[in-house]
Symmetry: C2
Subunit: 198 residues, 2 copies
Amino acid sequence: MPPPILPPPPPLCVQVTLFEQEHFQGKCMEFTSECCNIYDCGMDNIRSIRVESGAWVGYEHHDFQGQQFILERGEYPNWEAYTGSLSNHIERFMSLRPIYCASHQSSRMMIFERENFMGRNTELCDDYPSLQAMGWFRPEVGSMHVQCGAFVCYEYPGYRGQQYIMECERHSGDYQHWRNWGSHCQTPKIQSIRRIRH
Amino acid sequence: MPPPILPPPPPLCVQVTLFEQEHFQGKCMEFTSECCNIYDCGMDNIRSIRVESGAWVGYEHHDFQGQQFILERGEYPNWEAYTGSLSNHIERFMSLRPIYCASHQSSRMMIFERENFMGRNTELCDDYPSLQAMGWFRPEVGSMHVQCGAFVCYEYPGYRGQQYIMECERHSGDYQHWRNWGSHCQTPKIQSIRRIRH
């Protein structure tokens, strides 16, 4: 594994700024921890986002429900910049939380052919823009277990379509069935997976 | 770098199947080399794609012009599955070609702060879902030089937004200015970069 360009900052402090208008305009608010309902924080629509540090997950609905989207450090000047790769239309962005992930060098998970950790399986510890190109035999995954760190799984190859954030810190890292992958999940299709890094 | 799940097939044979209807229905056609105009091949609209092997790039217009999108092994059952992360609306898919990329372990490129390979610079040889998280100091890149292999660069973090395919086999790997990144490029914004693998 080659070294990063510069040592990444320690993941002790996480910060995101949300804006009510595109291109970082209008009313804004900084967050350094989870927010279960942006309306309750006095924000209305979110139209641009600047992630200052850490990795975050945004949710369509309050209380961390609905479609998910990963937010990593950088600038998202409009709605499409952070929801663009979701296959279903998303109308709102209502809650968000930081993701506590291991150093990505130690991230590890198992994927299984069938639900409840049954059938053929393999261990993942890298980024996989196409699971099939790396040897997985079909476009679905039956169940998953995250041993260390956090991953984002995608419906289509090349990190596109529905996103599912999978963490060893949640559900003991166990995702027995696609119905556990998120309240929005409607299919076992998973075709690309990558580690989440700070 | 951990080994892939199974050894990937050698990139000698590349194959993609295009379908005129969603979910791999309707008239279909297999390609094992580039196609500069799908109308001339007797295809009308493309609504689903199955990439059997290799990495490909699709283009909005004929003769490899317009917005680009990477196609890696796997299934794209509908239009949004392969165009979903583009920030601008795309109406057609008119040409495609295979990407000849090195073993991803040897992929290397340089990014520069300013055009014509000037200013601060750094070498990339990994996947970077957030360039800023890895130490790059701003959401733009001035110019790029691909020394080995091929990369896909994205407008936003997390592999979202406009895509630009950068190859050492094309333009001698030199991309002096954002106007060379593709006929659709309108901004120097680049916030995530990853290697293209077979």
